[in-house]
Structures are given as C-alpha cells and as structure tokens.
C-alpha cells in the first residue's frame, strides 16, 4: 500500500529567527524628579554577551537591575523570555528564577555557610530535594574552584572567593541569563583575574550574559556587543572590534581614552 506518489515538496529557505531573550524598548525611569534612564533600547539574543560600560552614575546598574525588577521602570517595555515585566508578580517570579545576578558587593548571606548559600534558593524556590541541591552546589563550587570552602562562612573567605561563591549561588538556580553588576570593582587587583576566569569560562559555555564592567580585556575577549552609556542614555552600541577601534561618538572615544589610557 505504499505506492502513493511521493510528493516532492519545495525546499523553502526559512530565515533563522532569533528571538531576543531580553528586550528593552524605550525604557524610561525616574528617581523622583531625576530622569535616570532615557529611551533605553537594548536587545539581547540567546547566548549573546553584552558588556555595558560608561561613567559612574550613567545608569548602568539601574538598567540591569530593571531586567530582574530590582528596580521598576516607569515607561517603555521590558521583556525577558518574551514575558513582559509589569506588576504581575507571577511574571516577576518566573523571570527571577531564570535570571541570575551577581553584585558588586557580593551580597552573600553571612549567617549561612557557603554550601547553604548555594542550596537555599534551589530548595526554597524550586523545591529541589536537599541531597540533590547539595550535589549541584558541590559541582558548582568545583567549577568556580573552591570546593574545599563549602563548610566555611562567607566572612572567612577572601573577596575573590566570595565573588566566585556569589556566581555559583546564582548558577545554582540554573538560570539561562546572567546579570553582572561590576563584579570585580570591589576586589583587590590580584583577585580580579580569578573571578574573570570563571566568567570567561561561563561565557564559553553559551550563557546569555549582560555584564557591567570596566575590564576592557575581558570585554574584548567575550563581548558580542559593547554598550556605552552616559547620562542615562545608550550612546553607542557596536561589536567590540568596531567599538574599540572606531567608536562613532566623541563621548565614547573620550571615555575609552580615559580608561584604557592608564
């Protein structure tokens, strides 16, 4: 019964549509009367690494904190995984489960051991069984190269070790997007590398990353897109080759001159 004529279907070249996983559209934010974010537009594709730089007070932190709703925007739209961030608490919860964040000042929980820091959210938010959460935590600690510190309290670790624990803590929720807000700015110079190495490794594994940093070596190594912000605006957005060699805006050029100059 298989003598039905074989129909030759025409092969259609479908364009590969890559939906952005994070999208900011005309985002505006005010602190009281102070206009912090002005018409911010940003689109991040799956697996893309975006590095954001700009002078202090330009709104970089505010922007990435809007992505997981640590700050509220007042106008425009923010979509994460195609879910709009609005007052819907369910949506916020869903987004936070999938977006990890690493802070400048680590913000580890000082009353919990390193291991407990890592297992807390998986057990209480995702209801992962304790044993499983601990196994995952140990794997992650190995990945950030401090498995031997699991039983210590954060206060007993060096800054670099603490930040690596903070990265592991965020990864324990198995996020698909990671936000970094100046993860190495609070570190002594000799500890910057150990943290950046972990981040470079993470980038190599295909994690979607938005990273505020002034480590331009790191930016050159991992960034797909460079973003320069000043006074609440995105002034320039370009691939790193172009961004570093031929910035379009004078402000970017000045800024790069300042931070690379010395």
């Amino acid at each position: 019964m298989s003598d039905a004529p074989v129909v030759e279907l025409p092969v259609v070249e479908l364009p590969v549509v890559e939906l952005p996983v994070v999208e900011l559209i005309d985002v505006q934010k005010w602190y009281g009367a102070f206009h912090v974010l002005k018409d911010v537009n940003l689109s991040v594709k799956k697996g893309e690494k975006v590095v954001v730089c700009g002078p202090s007070g330009s709104g970089k932190s505010t922007m990435i904190r809007c992505v997981n709703r640590l700050e509220e925007h007042q106008a425009g739209r923010i979509l994460v995984n195609n879910i709009e961030l609005a007052d819907d608490l369910k949506a916020i919860d869903a987004i936070r489960k999938d977006v990890g964040m690493v802070f400048q000042s680590f913000n580890l929980f000082p009353h919990l051991t390193v291991l407990q820091n890592l297992t807390l959210a998986p057990t209480w938010v995702k209801h992962v069984p304790k044993k499983e959460a601990e196994d995952l935590a140990m794997q992650l600690l190995e990945r950030v190269r401090i498995p031997d510190q699991a039983k210590k309290f954060p206060g007993q670790l060096s800054g670099g070790q603490q930040q690596r624990v903070a990265i592991a803590r965020a990864l324990a929720m198995k996020p698909s997007i990671m936000l970094f807000d100046e993860p190495t700015s609070a570190l002594d110079p000799e500890m910057v590398k150990e943290v950046l190495d972990v981040m470079i490794e993470l980038a190599g594994e295909g994690m979607t990353m938005i990273c505020v940093t002034h480590e331009m070596g790191f930016a050159r190594a991992v960034a797909d897109t460079m973003v320069f912000m000043a006074e609440g605006r995105v002034i320039e957005m370009a691939p790193p080759e172009q961004f570093f060699s031929d910035p379009k805006s004078e402000r970017t050029r000045q800024f790069l001159g300042q931070i690379i100059g010395h």
Binding site: F103, H111, L120, W124
Partner: protein
C-alpha cells in the same frame, strides 16, 4: 651552674628595670593593692574626698544591713507563731517558711497546691532544656506541646480526676510566669509583623502598624490593662464573656508587642539592602526572604534590647493586680494580711523581689550567652 629559678628571677628583675616609666612599679605583691588604691582612689583631693565619702556610706549601711539580714535574723519559728520574730531585732525570714505557699500560689485551693508547684517545675525544666542550642530541634517543639497540655490540665483540672479550679483562683508565681511567658511568646511574632509592616511599601499597612505602635507606646500599661479588662467586654455581644486572665494576657501581649516591634525594627534597619536584593534576585518570595535571610540576621543583632523587653514584660505582669489578679507580688502582699505577720512586710517584699531577680538575672545571663553562641562562625 645556673638554676632555673635564678633565670626567672633575673628575667623578672630585668623586666622591672625596663619599665621605669610606669606610674606604679609594684615592688612586691603586698604593695600592689596599696599602689593601685593610691593611684586610683587617692590620686587627687576631690578623688580622696569621694573615696572617703563612699567608705563612710558603706560603713553606715553594710554592717546594719548584715546585722539585720543575717546576724540577728530569725530563720524559723516554733508552731507557726511570730513571737520569736517579735523578740528579735533582725529580719524575720521565718516568714518564708510559714507563708511560702500563700506567696507562691496565692488563693489557689490550699490542698491542691501540688498542682501549680508541679506545673511550675515542668515549665522551668522545659525552659532549661530549651536553652542550649543543640536542643533546638523539632522534637523540642513536640515536647513543648505535651508540656503545655499537661500544665493546662494541672492548672485547670476538671478531667482525669483533678477537681476544676477556675482561673480567678490562680495566683502567685505560676500566674506571673504564665502571663510573662505567654505574653512574650505571643507578642514576639506580633512584633515581627508590626516591625515589617512599619517598613512596608504599602501605605495602608505602614500606616496601621505605625499608628498602632505609636498609640500603644504612648500610653501606660496600666491603662492598656484597664481597657483590656473594662472596655473590651463592652464590644463583645451580650452573654459572651472573656476570662479575666485572658483579657489581662491580651493587654500585656498587645503592649509588649509594640515595644518589641521597635527593637526588631532596629535590627531590620541594620541589615544592608544588598541582602534583600540578593534574596529577591534569587526569586525568594517575601516571607521566605524575611524568615531565611533578613530576620535571622536582624534578630541576633537585637538580642539585648529584645531580652530587655522580655525582662520588662516579666516585671510588668505585677501590674495585673489592678484588674484583680493575684500575681506573685500581689500574692506576697496578701500573704501578709495575717495580723500576726503583718509587721514583716519588708521581708515579704524582699523575698518577692529576690524571686523576680532570679528570673530576670537568668534571662539576662542567658541572652549574653546566646549572643556569644550566635555570633561565632561568621565574624569577619
């Protein structure tokens, strides 16, 4: 050959020689206290005057107190008569032996005194068991559950062969302990809710909590107790009455909670914003965030003011006497109604004060110990 002692002497001598700048160089141990006194108590004219004045006051008060309280005190009397006390110039501690049951248990039926005694012992034993941190487990919670049922059965009776005793007859130490403990246990969670509410972003909740705290902190406990016992029943439907003891307990709880809330809020304010942000970023819902991250850190910072409030609460229970309850202090006073023993009311109050002191001092020491326990491990 050099003997070891010589070595040590030589070393000590060398050390002495090398310290000429020190104000007091102790030559021999005998001179040490004198040297200390000279440099601390008599080093200037005003200091010398103050020292002499203090010595004079001590001389005037301590010997008479010792003579009254110890050397000339009557410790026991024959056949329940205060005659022996009347003949002596000292304190009449025999009162304790004669009236202890009235002081400790008030008007609880005399032949049933073993019940509040046993109940009190159970509670004290449970408190002692709960003190060490290693016992803070689920089983302890179950044990408390059983203890509460047993204590309630002992105090009320009415079933399983114990005659019923209404709460109006409860008194003395069990009443004070019960009011204080339950007041604290109930006020504590309420105070946490109030403190969190006062920091809430929701204006209505914030206004309610702030208003409540400020209102209650602005009035004396006496008036709260009066309101709880007099005004509360006015709002209840006809025929419904609430136990007098329960009303007093509600008053104490509501009052203590307002003060505790401010202590808790102090702790909350000391926790950096980043802690909450990290918890938020991990997706912890509000109450989990508070219970697992913020409160454990905030509360251990404010153990001293919290225990301060517990101690206040314990002593404030003595005010329930104004709504007709016989707490430890009131029961002690009532025990002295007997004309034969009435002259020894000072002894009665000293004894009651000593009992209060034992409890409050224990709480204070325990809090210091607990603070040290909880501080280990995460010091920077």
């Amino acid at each position: 050959m050099i003997k070891p002692e010589d070595d040590i002497h030589a070393a000590t001598a060398a050390a002495d020689v090398e310290e000429p700048s020190s104000a007091v160089v102790p030559e021999t141990p005998l001179w040490k206290p004198l040297g200390w006194a000279k440099s601390n108590l008599f080093d200037s004219v005003p200091n010398t005057i103050l020292t002499l004045l203090a010595l004079f006051l001590l001389w005037e008060t301590i010997p008479p107190l010792l003579s009254w309280g110890l050397f000339h005190a009557t410790w026991s009397v024959a056949d329940g008569s205060a005659a022996a006390c009347r003949d002596s110039a000292g304190a009449c501690w025999a009162l304790m032996g004669e009236k202890n049951r009235l002081m400790l248990f008030g008007v609880y039926p005399y032949d049933q005194h073993w019940r509040p005694l046993l109940a009190t012992c159970i509670v004290i034993a449970m408190l002692a068991t709960s003190a060490p941190r290693r016992f803070w487990r689920r089983e302890l919670g179950y044990a408390w559950g059983v203890a509460v049922v047993v204590v309630a059965w002992l105090m009320w009776g009415g079933i399983l062969g114990l005659p019923y005793v209404e709460t109006g007859l409860w008194g003395g130490l069990p009443l004070t302990m019960g009011l204080a403990l339950l007041g604290i246990v109930l006020a504590f969670p309420l105070s946490i809710v109030l403190a969190l509410g006062r920091r809430s972003n929701l204006p209505a909740i914030k206004a309610i909590c702030t208003g409540y705290i400020e209102l209650v902190r602005g009035v004396p406990l006496v008036s709260v107790l009066f309101m709880a016992s007099v005004m509360f029943p006015l709002f209840l439907p006809e025929g419904v009455t609430i136990d007098k003891l329960l009303r007093a307990l509600a008053g104490i709880t509501l009052f203590t909670a307002a003060y505790l809330a401010e202590a808790v809020r102090g702790g909350l304010q000391a926790i950096p914003r980043g802690q909450e942000e990290a918890a938020d970023a991990l997706g912890l819902p509000y109450w989990r965030k508070m219970r697992l991250i913020v409160l454990p850190q905030a509360l251990r910072l404010v153990i001293p003011p919290i225990v301060n409030q517990f101690i206040s609460c314990f002593k404030d229970t003595s005010l329930v006497t104004i709504v007709g309850l016989y707490d430890l202090l009131a029961a002690s006073k009532a025990a002295l109604a007997d004309p034969e023993w009435r002259p020894y009311f000072v002894e009665g109050y000293v004894i009651a004060a000593a009992i209060y002191w034992v409890f409050c001092f224990s709480m204070s020491r325990y809090s210091q110990w607990l603070e040290r326990q909880l501080a280990t491990g995460h010091r920077r």
